[in-house]
Amino acid sequence: MTPAPRFPVLLWLPAALAAAFFLLPLVGLCQRAPWSSLATRLASPAIRDALWLSLQCSAAATTLSLLFGLPLAAWLAAGSSRLRTAVRVLVTLPMVLPPVVGGVAMLLAYGRNGLIGSAAEPWLGFALPFTTPGVVLAETYVAMPFFVLAVEGGLRGLDPRYAEAAATLGAGPGRVFRTVTVPMLLPTLRSGLLLAWARALGEFGATITFAGNLAGATRTMPLAVYTALETDPDAAITLSLLMVGIAAAVLFPLRRHWLPSR
């Protein structure tokens, strides 16, 4: 192992400030948390419903990102053309737009009077906005771009000659994708899914705009925190702590796939 280059003294102060900047909010949460009533609060039906809904919806949004995002990423990585560039910009847009704007745009497309929403409603049997599937859709809209871009980057980083070697061994494009590309892409897929899931779990703006804030149906944890903050700050803090706990529980075991390795 080569020793790390010595750290310039001048950078100590800003680096420490940056670390403290992230640490203090956590300390604040812990310090103000209603520790004595935490257990009973966590068991309350409102929190339990929000937690369950959040886990379900974020898992569904992550699954949709995988099922539709992987083929899209594979197509984006398969060449370069104006159409690909245009589609990439389109996919990147939800990452830069405020999620609220995304929610508004989704209403105009998939809402009751939206572009295809009115046509889709009789076919689906229900309207998407202000329902649990609407939450999933809003979360997917915001989360999938992270997955697609991560996977496209991973695919472009793969040595294309492995696929060529597989082809000379008699494997057609489908078999090459299944048996060579996807297995070699696994680390990227894992971190891409994690990224998408984290984004879906924390989704607020698009969800509240497109799916509303209905307890039990569309009130996910971030929405519950927001709602509780006005009436019951202790409940908001409890929910926030819970989200910190979930994030830590998921990130810690997967840190090797998530953080750059040392």
């Binding site: 060529e164 000379t168 494997a171």
Partner: protein, 346 residues
Amino acid sequence: MKLAADLHLRRGTLRLDAGFVVAPGSTVALLGPNGAGKTTALRCLAGLLRLDAGSITLGERRLDGGPDGPFVPPEHRGIGLLFQDHLLFPHRTALQNVAYGVRGASRKRARAIAGAWLERVGIATPELRPAQLSGGQAQRVALARALASNPSALLLDEPLAAIDASARFELRRLLREHLRAFPGPRLLVLHDIADALALADRLVVLEQGQVVQAGSINDLVCRPRSRYVADLLGVNSFVGDCRDGHVRLGAASLTVATATTGEVLVTVHPRAVSLFRSRPEGSPRNVWLAPVLGLEHQLERVRVELGGALPVVAEVTRAAVDELRLADGGEVWVAIKATELVVTAR
């Protein structure tokens, strides 16, 4: 099944215009300087690149007929390709890598076939992953993988280039054995002449996308047609202007035994360059005094590097080195018979 190629392709700065034929049961080595288009030619044959024009046929089957002709994708060509850096799938064991290409067999049967191939190339650890294999072992597994897919023709791209010296000799022996046992056409891209001598029956030399010479090793040694070929084979070569039986080479001049006129390539094998301590009497037409610059000891003989107006390399026995006291340096008389100088018009 004969492999016949007439390749025409432009890629970046490379312009490939090369035609050659590989007979079934024969091994052809494709040699040439870096960037000559050797690997590109191999990629065309394997179906990884499409021709701009020309054709590739294997037996009666046309694999590529240019933009308007047929194009058989690599997975349907039945052409095995061994890459320089083996390209074993990192997520599969050696056995799984070899079994990958076995066609038309049950999973169990494919594993059995793969195991037998691994044994044949001397790999006793089928359960290891590529990262756990040495370079030589990985290349053996890659050879087994290419052969296990039962191809009709075999292409090898610099199979020995990434192998260290200790494993190289053994791998070369193994390649030779398996190439001989393979019934179809075999084409190797090589850059080392020793590997070509050990493995190939015929050489095709590619320079700037064009075939400059093709033939047996003997043909090439006797009459190298370019400076690259001469250098590759360790033959002296000069480019000069030929007139009235003399070739002008800058300040020097050589007497030759041909009536060619114009720019020529003159080559002479180092063994045809004689050295003397005192001026030789008799027939040689080209005699001059040159300083000894250095000695390069080989197994049997010694290559003597000579300076002066016409720098040449002579190859003499060890006894001659002692007799002529060449190790002391100084100047020696160089003599070349006019008939030993091979003159090729350019």
